[in-house]
Symmetry: C2
Subunit: 463 residues, 2 copies
């Protein structure tokens, strides 16, 4: 946990910022069953609960009563039976004290407290539930069917405004995650040799996280088919001549994430074709990165990255015509179907549970939800100092898309289908770093993980 003052201060800021009255209700997460009640997935506390209360214990809830100026945590101390089975641990009272919360009540009392607020016709604010258990709990508490729950926009907006600007101590945590992630990525580069299975690399990556007392922040994507954007299949054998794409990050015991991607050859060197395409992505990455600073719209940075990708692909003969026109017509989405990046913090896609429209966009400048490509850009709004974001351009050859669009002759004036078809099974390339926005520009967080063709080849040659 951070200091007691941190949590007291964060809650005070929230109360000050929020433009409403009533009750703010925070539900912690539970231990979710895998295949029966007592066999559970690892416990992961809700990130907003962690941010304002810091307590890593299942089955908690908290309220900030704006009208009565009270903060209460609802939860139960361990029974003697539980102590026999689970061991004596720090009491809930002690944990709450570390979070600066003096009022602790039994979990049973939460229902009555909320009922009292309902009866008094006072407002109850809550966040969108994502775990089914909290959908059920919330539905009971506020006496609405699950599909009629109405999360509080005022509460969401106040929380996003606060959580999106990272404190210095949060940056320290993210950089701790990146130290471990750096090792995870170097291990994958060392291990990648013909004959190795993708799942063996995943397991070695997870082992580095685990032996540093971290968890994977998300299921690693480790694939020789990097053209598949969210590829969790991991049964392939690494073969000579392929690239391996590794998108892996971890989270610290306090819950802060990292999210890095590197793409490198299974062999010790890139082929000329791999090198050329890799350098297009790297050039896009560097160009986008250098455009980052407070006040710039991330959507515009995304478009810079797209144009650099398009120009590189034109230079290599995969595309044709003018790069700006190609991007304006969305023709680059044949190769780059997704967005340039997203916020990162206590979640790898920070605050995604609160709603992309509040985290990544504004009312005045909302997301384009229909255009292929733009509809997958999670972050579009103006950057502020203290934002932590990812930058992750890529080139992806997707056989199904090439086949479908080729048959339709889609974007024919910009795409050289003859050449593209020859690369249908090339795979994909992504390069991703985690970056803090500053008033003067940006800071790449964590150790400087090797990234150029030369650096990667030099490293791989050692093993």
């Amino acid at each position: 946990m951070f200091s007691r003052d941190t949590y007291i201060q964060r809650r005070a800021t929230l109360v000050k910022n929020i433009e409403t009255k009533g009750l703010l209700l925070f539900l912690g997460n539970i231990e979710n069953p895998v295949n029966f009640e007592d066999n559970t997935y690892r416990f992961r506390q809700d990130s907003t609960f962690l941010y304002y209360f810091g307590i890593q214990q299942p089955y908690l809830a908290a309220v900030i009563d704006l009208d009565e100026n009270k903060t209460i945590i609802f939860g139960d101390e361990m029974s003697i039976d539980a102590i026999v089975w689970m061991g004596r641990q720090e009491t809930l009272k002690e944990k709450c004290d570390k979070a600066g919360v003096v009022e602790v009540r039994s979990k049973d009392e939460l229902g009555n407290y909320v009922k009292g607020v309902l009866n008094a016709k006072r407002q109850i604010h809550y966040l969108p539930p994502y775990q089914s258990s909290n959908k059920i709990q919330l539905s009971k508490l506020v006496q609405l069917p699950i599909d009629q729950l109405k999360p509080s926009v005022a509460m969401i907006e106040a929380i996003v405004k606060q959580r999106e600007i990272k404190e210095a101590q949060e940056i320290v945590e993210i950089e701790k995650a990146l130290e471990v992630t750096n090792q995870m990525h170097l291990m994958a580069m060392r291990m990648a040799k013909p004959g190795v299975k993708e799942y063996e690399v995943v397991s070695a990556i997870q082992h580095i996280a685990g032996s540093n007392n971290c968890e994977l922040a998300y299921p690693s994507i480790v694939t020789i088919n990097g053209g598949i954007l969210h590829n969790h299949y991991k049964m392939n054998t690494l073969t000579s001549g392929r690239l391996l794409l590794n998108d892996s990050g971890c989270e610290t015991p306090m819950g802060y994430a990292s999210d890095l991607t590197r793409t490198f050859p299974v062999d010790k060197t890139f082929t000329p074709e791999q090198r050329d395409l890799y350098n297009v992505v790297l050039n896009s990455f560097e160009g986008a990165k250098s455009a980052l600073k407070e006040g710039v719209r991330y959507k515009d940075v995304h478009l810079i990255a797209c144009e650099l990708l398009a120009q590189g692909l034109i230079d290599l003969g995969f595309m044709k015509g003018n790069a700006q026109d190609a991007v304006a017509n969305h023709a680059h989405t044949m190769f780059f179907q997704c967005g340039l990046g997203h916020m990162m913090g206590l979640d790898v896609h920070d605050m995604e549970d609160l709603g992309e429209q509040y985290v990544g966009y504004t009312v005045a400048d909302p997301k384009n939800k229909t255009q292929f490509g733009m509809k997958s850009l999670r972050l579009g709004k103006e950057l502020k100092a203290g934002h932590v974001i990812t930058v992750e351009p890529g080139i992806y050859f997707i056989p199904e898309l090439i086949e479908m669009w080729g048959a339709e002759k889609k974007y024919e004036e910009f795409i050289n289908y003859e050449k593209v078809r020859q690369f249908a099974h090339f795979g994909g390339i992504r390069i991703e770093d985690d970056i803090q926005i500053t008033s003067s520009g940006y800071k790449v967080l964590g150790p400087d993980l090797i990234k150029t063709v030369e650096e990667i080849e030099d490293y791989k040659k050692q093993f």
Copy 2:
């Protein structure tokens, strides 16, 4: 997957065995969110769904319509958008064909199908949901509030009757899991040295599972405080003079579990006190094991194990009086607070989601739900050839229990509190193997993982 005939045959047996009419409804599991909708825990299919349909894909459901003699799987093929993001995979139709199911309908149609059955006043049978998502889904489908759902006893009983008798091919799968688990335990013995962290051992164990394309079957218990029965705290540093208890198992890609425990010194050798207590547990283990055969009640095997523990503890001066009397009076529960074992198969506690009263007990001989000790025995009923069970006696020194019962002078005539108090922080010892019941006796499954003091010391001296 097993052969198509396996699934066809299993369903035919279920239909033959079940003493009811109406609709059998099977809900598969979903991908459950960790901290936001798109960041999910590893997918684990429901075990009963796996048993009858074998398909490892989220968001499926199936029905066996007993009245209309129909089997239908409800689920959706991937959209082109999903193929772009996730890659082309085997179609659902192809997977269903491998399970011998020819009728596949869209998931949307499940609601109407069930509504038709409700409207016709036909019975709908379903199993107790354990994941919250399925509680919500089931509640909508059968139009009952979650807390008024009524799982079908007829369906549960028919499934337990079938799943509890393991097929030869299921034993093969369990032994595959045990091959990997054997390596997991040897690794832990090798790694256990002063200065190592518990979580480092856990991570190495998980890495062996992962690099063999297996998952942990349950969160590993790796602890120097083995007196704590379900100890998932893993931040301690291993120190000289302590024992390390390792309760770890894995599951194969098909979902079959293993569950082994070994306890061994952090140093290369046991202390005399550790050796003496270890041999009491080992003697209890061997005695219980040799009593196993078809027709014996597991509850009686549990009591044999308890008596052997009590006699050993009497011999060492921790207990006094007559062992049989001590067990009849439950005095041994100061040291052995839990049950001797449980069924194992597609779940580490096999079919625990269906209800312990149906899996471990009978109506004629129900569980003792109030007596400390017996109330934690998950399996009491008569053993049959084809059962796969664990045998896991232990001695646990629980400081809180020693303090509490000592103050009450509880079981004073059987417990030598003076000596026991000196061992309050000794920790605990458990030895556990997975065993198949046969008509003539039993078969210990998997490789013969080292177990005696001499075997463990000889092994540890090599590293």
